[in-house]
Symmetry: C2
Subunit: 224 residues, 2 copies
């Protein structure tokens, strides 16, 4: 059967725009998907709901939600209740950096990949937006791939393990346009770090980057 | 103050003998310790209780328990309820192998290490016992260290990250003797994968290795 020959991949699905676009890109490349959403003590669950919606839209084989409550071990505003920076996107260590969080997520994704026989993990990382996150960089991904190949039976048996970041160098506007072309429904994506009951705050780094993406793509955000 | 100059380290403390001996070895080398016990859907909590006891005995600065319920993503008998092998220790992929579990644990430990300013993670890995676990091998550890240095702010700022396995090549009997010399109280360690209400089963791989260690060291196990 053709579907059995297709490459199987784990998709890290956060509920945000970028991972939804990434999922659509993986489907367009014929990947059979198992999606994984991780809770890590976030402030709200709207993005998990959005992730579930996107998983259904993508027709994944399985959607898995996993609790990784990193609060007791990691520092950083997203889990410890500190202030979210609202002063615009700057260089340096962001207040939203959680120590090696993406490293923990990728380790969980690598575990799932080996369990289900997948040789790839896809995620919506943007290398320019995430310059302040060392665990979201190509250099880290290559080093982590080598570690996973050394540290799994799949690797020992010669099977591949790759981290795929189709949006890595694309820029926000091009990502938004790609998603539209691939049929992503942005109404069912969630971005904001600290929403009110009325919706996204419009001021946190995540909101600013989202707004910038739509503005540069000359499109209107359906959530606005 | 002398204690502030001491190297800070994260200790992975399972409640078993090996991590207790490892903690004692780290203390003997003057390390200031933060200990981390991970739940991953184990069948019983006795080892977590033993870990708490050992943390107190080691005088750690902080003892942290973290839930990493890998059941939904990982395969393997320890979390999925499958049969534990009782046919003796053999080569090949053990029934107790959980996909990249130690990789997930080390990622969590690396996150904690960066949070608390520790440059080392100590653990009770035995390379001979754990030949069937690719994520408990020196080759994996070296690759993972490189990944952590590439993927953290601590690494970006040039700080070291090392995984230390003092029992790695020591053998079970030598480990048991080392622990005795360092004052480890083996009554407060737990090993068995499937205990009954009367105590350890005496038949699982973990029990066999423990018994072999005491026998070769010509000592009596206080739990027997």
């Amino acid at each position: 059967m053709a579907t059995n020959a297709a490459v199987k991949a784990v998709l890290l699905l956060s509920g945000g725009m970028d991972s939804a676009i990434t999922g659509a890109a993986a489907r367009a490349r014929g990947r059979r998907l198992v999606s994984l959403s991780l809770h890590y003590g976030q402030r709200h669950a709207r993005e998990l709901k959005a992730a579930r919606w996107q998983a259904r839209a993508l027709g994944v084989e399985r959607h898995i939600e996993l609790k990784l409550p990193l609060g007791p071990i990691a520092s950083g505003a997203l889990v410890d209740g500190g202030a979210i920076r609202q002063s615009g996107v700057k260089a340096g260590k962001p207040a939203t950096y959680v120590s090696f969080r993406n490293g923990v997520f990728l380790a969980a994704a690598a575990s799932l990949a080996e369990s289900v026989g997948a040789g790839e993990v896809w995620g919506g990382w943007c290398f320019t937006d995430q310059a302040g996150y060392p665990d979201c960089t190509p250099g880290f991904f290559r080093a982590f791939e080598r570690a996973v190949r050394a540290g799994t039976w799949a690797g020992r048996e010669g099977r591949a393990f790759k981290i795929v970041a189709p949006l890595g160098r694309l820029g926000k506007a091009a990502s938004v346009r790609l998603g539209l072309r691939l049929g992503v429904d942005y109404r069912h994506t969630w971005t904001c770090y600290q929403p009110s009951s009325q919706g996204p705050c419009g001021r946190c780094d995540a909101c600013r980057l989202r707004a910038q993406g739509f503005a540069e793509a000359r499109l209107k955000d359906p959530l606005e």
